[in-house]
Symmetry: C2
Subunit: 345 residues, 2 copies
Amino acid sequence: MTLRIAVDAMGGDHAPSHAVEGAVRAAREDGIHVVLVGREDAIKAELRRLNANDPLVDVVHAEDVVGMHEPAVLSLRRKKRSSIRIAANLVKAGEADAFVSAGNTGAIMANLKVTLGLLEGVSRPALAAVLPSVKAQSVWLDVGANVDTRPSHLVQFAIMGWLYSRRILGVENPRVGILSIGEEEGKGNETTREVIRRLRETTKEINLIGNVEGRDIFSGRADVIVCDGFIGNVTLKAIEAVTETVGVFLRQEIERNWRSRLGAMLMAGAFKRFKRRVSYEEFGGVPLLGMNAAAIICHGHSSPRAIQTAVRVARDYVENRVNDRIRTELARVAAAMDASSGEQP
Amino acid sequence: MTLRIAVDAMGGDHAPSHAVEGAVRAAREDGIHVVLVGREDAIKAELRRLNANDPLVDVVHAEDVVGMHEPAVLSLRRKKRSSIRIAANLVKAGEADAFVSAGNTGAIMANLKVTLGLLEGVSRPALAAVLPSVKAQSVWLDVGANVDTRPSHLVQFAIMGWLYSRRILGVENPRVGILSIGEEEGKGNETTREVIRRLRETTKEINLIGNVEGRDIFSGRADVIVCDGFIGNVTLKAIEAVTETVGVFLRQEIERNWRSRLGAMLMAGAFKRFKRRVSYEEFGGVPLLGMNAAAIICHGHSSPRAIQTAVRVARDYVENRVNDRIRTELARVAAAMDASSGEQP
């Protein structure tokens, strides 16, 4: 049977229009079978706008919509017919092979956990941001799925990120770094030292380069950057803010005289290309690794193109059997850990 | 007796020239008495270059120089006549009132700890970065003095940062935020929740606004941002790297066609002003709070102007008796904590 991707049509700041348009593009341009989940009338209105009558686009109705800032627990309890939940149910029932949403991240994680559960051998899921470094794409996890993390969880994140880098980003021998302070072995805090010790003991295949620093998130020194979700989320948000602040400061400086203003006009194209390049949206979403399904979460203000990219990533994820590989590798490491001593995962 | 600031002439990538020039400017323009510590011949050569024969500039010889990447422990053991150590000894002996250096941060912290010790009531010192937010200057600590931090340490950081903001940055009622994920009360991890609970219980004066997020480091939502040194250092380095990466990406975009290149030429002034504004160097160094002395650490590639600013900040620190106030406030909070329950600092 051909592969089908469930797309939450009601998620994101521009729902349903961006989600529907992105899904339609994935169907038309990439030949991917998509299932749009959400309010049928709203989705159909969008499809008419796009003159979409494609055989590769299905619609499944869901009456509830989870707000972008609604507490996850409330959405779980009160919105059992939400587009998020119904899309997850489709995956569970085998009627779709993967899940894509630009909706409320907390609600998505809670609903997927309840509906699909975690992958065998995984104790915590991890949000993996895919970043443009100076050289290639790197994957950075966890950027916010967990707050209190033990060393055993970080070991799992390292393994999941390594497999994602190999299988989805196509890096042959991904270099794995633990986000820490100072590059030297022995630097860092208790947790990072313990994680490095365990990875060295239990995994021979992984190309562990040891500690990496905050600056290495963009330097291309590592293909996989591992940290707990608290640090990952704080740092990710700081990075987003600094990019915006740079823009504000630059605009203020440009307003000062006519030379700068004229210069800025001439440079408008370069600015636009630059913004597109650093834009989160163009990278097509963040995989939620460790769920018992392929799940890609997109930024709330994703463009149609970002949704389309996310659908493609979801397809690649399924076709490359990333979850099977994660399961196998974690079982191998768990056996090796049983053989050595230490805290159980 | 007039106030005297000990300046490590041998610290920084451009030592001794930038340090000497910065100190001389502070003497000439701000009327501050400075004591330059380092190799006498090198310092005197710089002074001749500057035609400096100022009565407010003293020189104290120190034969050893600590390299910028030398391990702190080694410098402690092998370089007992380093400019860092001798400058610290001057402060200890009462021959100088404050310490300024653009040298090796690890070596400075180790030497100050050994020579001057911690302030009464402080368990850990904290590096406090002073940042330009959209509205005003905010202070962010700890950005790297400590790796494994307990809630009681973060409570002390909050108090020290609050006093610094009031007394040095002139904020009347500084808003204190704990760096966390999600703004809502109850979000965050075990540590941040515990810190907020303790601050609420023991300090009535402090305007605690609760959790702030990574984006708030620049938003101006808080005047004081508190986190542990591990997260602070990772995030600070990521921010520095992103600013540089933005520059690289923009330059690549600009090179693409003549319009952009011409535009960039016209905008050169704006770029320069912008860079100055976001530049770390212009903020005149990072106070090391909690030491039994006023100590300002400057960035390794500080300009003479950055050194001058740091000398001014050191003077303000002493004149405002920031350390006396920290001591008093911490004693009050310790008494309040004794009265309630919980881990001892």
